[in-house]
Symmetry: C2
Subunit: 539 residues, 2 copies
């Protein structure tokens, strides 16, 4: 059965809602002032009243330093709101910079190409005129991945790919789909659904990030075990770079030389613009079951998830919340750590796998009961609490930011031999750094988001009342302490949040020298004018 | 639990057997003359008597064009037998070139480094003196990966890594082991076994290939589904290149930039010498079950394996033999296609998975019965026949080569939408090319060695009486037809046999242009004197 072209369809209703230019997600989903005050009361020492929501009209915005040529003018805007909304990602430090009226350097222009030809033409023009080009998907970077820093370029163009958002072809026989890079999560899922297919890549940013962004940052997705990153679902990539453009062949696997795709996965827009990909999609799961398991002892819970990662059970969800994280999300109220376990399948009932996993967790001191087996199993209350909190969390972070709190996350991965000491060290040293920077005792919570036979990916949340007006400096001090601990424990600077500009110093030290030489020379060959996302990965 | 150093142990008994310099494996395992004649009788039109086993003493061997410096002399030999044994890999065309007394250009010297320092010193010396360096593991390449062609270098050094063969450290807690690249399969497994661990990478060349060779060629291993290539078991790589040396961090996963390891996996010695790796090892399986399923209709069998690849069952073995392949291996005598199915686990019984898989196969017209569930299940006769034939096949190929037959394999991978037409086209067009080249009707058999949700890896065997004295030319004609069919169907030039020199023309056309620029520039940066395995991957 050959691949079939997919006709264009009406835009997703979600795209009609207004995105916040300064904070997470939709503007109408932000906590209101009263909710902000309530949130602030959870962190004594924060402000009495929320900082006002910032307005683009209050920003001092220069005129663009360049004008696009007439042939490209229809793709480009200098609208102040568009420029402000493309100035930064959505890290805590981005949000507070906006709240304090000091966003990063605004791009001079925002371009919205409709296809590869447009991308190539824009790159050609930018190369000729010394204009930096920052590929931009959903703009949800939390590592300074979509902003410009410095002044080495004459002007900055934000290359917004979201007009390239179609599922172009579907090959049901090979369970694959050709998808444009600018499709946001819900936009591509909506186009796959009529075919009974799904990409099943559901990062926390699902609604506000694009396929291209996921690929360029090696995003962590839905699955807590086995195929944890988007990388494994890539069948072929199309890349447009200043010096060359082309696509890899559609292949289920290949041993012909180093993987061409793996060099562009994680290249963060520095080597080329990913414009589309053939992705390995899946049938929609018909069988699901999930439950939670409580552990009085966090270290025994670590042993349990390690055993689960080594079993053949392959849980889709296997997230371990430490007591603080469990309490914060409402998954536990008695000081227990909570393991959120979920199984799903398109082909077979998953009740047996869940029951076996539960047995295994109990053997390590876990307390939990299996829901009734079968696809209609009721969702465990702790699982439900965790899920709601998971999706709402970034909005709450912004509400707390408005109350002057410093609230942010960071994540890593390490082999099991280092995990217990690493988590302890992060708790104590990041806590100490926060205390030193603010005079307040910080909350430092941990969850394991992804687990492997040989290690795990801990994800930390820090919350502490800030120093009014110095929030960025306070966070930078805390983050410096965090990355120092990770580095000392040889834990990666990022498991799935990418390098961007924020992680550069430690990434440079982590990257092995032979690869540094290769990456530098590849950058020079593909981007000879050095216009592509300057400052990420390499200088 | 920290990683523990592993003390050195006595050499493996297997290493005391004599390797054949001209043919596959151990010299004492070759078919004798009588067996060769019996094999030849299966292919009417072959010779009446086998070609004699070639002798190194009969080769005209020049004196080495260079002399190593005194400081490196203890690592280097110019022994004619060593030079002859390192002149080529073990493809059919290598074997017949040896049989006809026309091996590829012999290396001037063979070096056996004992560690990274030795490797770096040898590369320094070679770079200064324009000596090509061909990294050599077990020498089992079937794609011209370990020979020198042309005359652009003053001399050729074969860099035999097999003295670097130790398991240096084991981290049981993280189920990982640090293994030197020159360890042959049995050598590393023997060192892992006392710890209850195994790498479980069992290519057909297992006894005669090394970890470094597997990594440098992205070898396909034991598993027919999910983690099919060695790539997925790499935690960290150490690389010594002329311009830089270093190791990636040990990480279960990371999203920090493009994967540094994936650029060197598959680099075939052209970018650097892989000297060691931390590998994800496994507990030894305690539960195994296997069976075979017969199919009257090969196309329905294709549907069955596709469904199996899309189930959650993850069979370790899921190899589909077409009727010819099944008959050849003794797995079937009635013209059926045969699916060899195997499950294994270190943690749980696998009988249920096997039974479910069997149900699925039966739903697609398969005929098979499950062995008794449990770890002590008897091995199905067809499975047993296939396994024996699998390991003996390369020896039989060489026996047939001595009878003047042309017998070789090639493999590929493609998405499911292309698989049926691809297999049909290979059968007819390769058969036609063989007929044209030899005047004989060829046997062209197919098996699927690895299966994926989005595609599969077909593996073809060709056997035809040759044209005495012109075996290389005949094979090259057949191979040209084969690669032309693969290319036209957009099937990869190799799924797990690597590119080497034989696959270069089609690989160059298959590789996307952005990656070509990156790879070329990486080569220039890492190997500025262009001494590393010249001619593989790039010129």
């Amino acid at each position: 059965m050959p691949a079939t072209a997919v006709p264009a369809s009406a835009p997703d209703p979600g795209t009609l809602r207004t995105r916040s230019w300064w904070g997470w997600g939709y503007a109408d989903a932000h906590p209101d002032d009263a909710e902000c005050v309530a949130l602030g009361s959870l962190l004594p020492g924060t402000l009495a009243r929320p900082l006002p929501i910032p307005r683009v009209a209050d920003l001092a915005i220069d005129r663009p330093a360049v004008t696009p040529p007439p042939a490209l003018a229809h793709l480009v805007t200098a609208d102040p709101h568009a420029r402000a909304a493309h100035a930064m990602g959505k890290a805590y430090r981005d949000v507070v910079r906006a709240l304090r009226g000091r966003p990063g350097r605004l791009p001079d222009l925002v371009a919205r190409p409709h296809g590869d030809r447009d991308v190539a033409d824009l790159l050609d023009w930018a190369g000729e005129h010394g204009v930096a080009v920052i590929p931009f998907g959903g703009g949800s970077s939390v590592v300074g991945g979509v902003e410009y820093r410095g002044d080495a370029h004459r002007a900055v163009l934000s290359l917004d790919l979201t007009s390239m958002n179609r599922v172009l072809e579907i090959d049901t026989g090979s369970r694959s789909a050709r998808i444009q890079a600018g499709a946001l999560g819900p936009v591509l899922e909506r186009q796959l659904r009529p075919h009974g297919l799904t990409l099943r890549h559901f990062p926390q940013s699902f609604e506000f990030s694009t396929l291209g962004g996921w690929l360029a940052t090696r995003a962590g997705g839905h699955y807590a075990t086995v195929h944890t990153h988007i990388d494994d679902f890539v069948q072929s990539l199309r890349v447009v770079a200043p010096a060359a453009a082309g696509a890899s062949w559609r292949l289920p696997a290949s041993g012909a030389g180093p993987s061409p795709d793996r060099l562009f996965l994680g290249s963060e827009g520095a080597l080329g613009v990913i414009t589309e990909a053939w992705m390995r999609v899946q049938e929609r799961p018909r069988h699901k079951a999930s439950t939670s398991v409580a552990f009085a002892d966090f270290h025994r819970a670590l042993d349990a998830v390690r055993a689960l990662a080594r079993s053949d059970l392959a849980p889709a969800n296997c997230r371990l919340l430490d007591p603080g994280e469990a309490a914060l999300s409402g998954a536990s109220r008695d000081g227990s750590a909570v393991l959120v376990l979920g199984f799903e399948s398109a082909t077979a009932a998953v009740g047996d796998r869940l029951a076996t996993a539960l047995d295994l967790a109990r053997a390590h001191g876990g307390r939990g009961t299996a829901p009734l087996p079968g696809s209609g199993a009721p969702v465990d209350a702790a699982v439900s609490a965790w899920r709601s909190a998971f999706l709402r969390m970034p909005y709450l972070r912004d509400g707390l930011a408005r109350m002057g709190a410093v609230v942010e996350t960071f994540e890593t991965a390490a082999t099991w031999d280092r995990i217990p000491a690493l988590i302890d060290a992060v708790r104590s040293e990041v806590g100490a750094a926060a205390l030193k920077a603010t005079g307040h005792r910080a909350t430092v919570n941990c969850r394991l988001t992804h687990v492997y036979p040989d290690g795990a990916a801990p994800y930390f949340t820090v919350a502490v009342p800030g120093r009014p007006g110095d929030e960025v400096e306070v966070w930078d001090d805390i983050k410096a302490a965090a990355t120092e601990v990770l580095h000392r424990h040889r834990a990666t600077v990022t498991h799935h949040h990418a390098v961007g500009r924020d992680h550069r110093p430690r990434y440079d030290l982590q990257r092995p020298e032979p690869f540094t030489l290769a990456l530098r020379s590849a950058k020079q060959a593909l981007d000879p004018h050095r216009i592509l996302n300057p400052g990420v990965l390499l200088d």
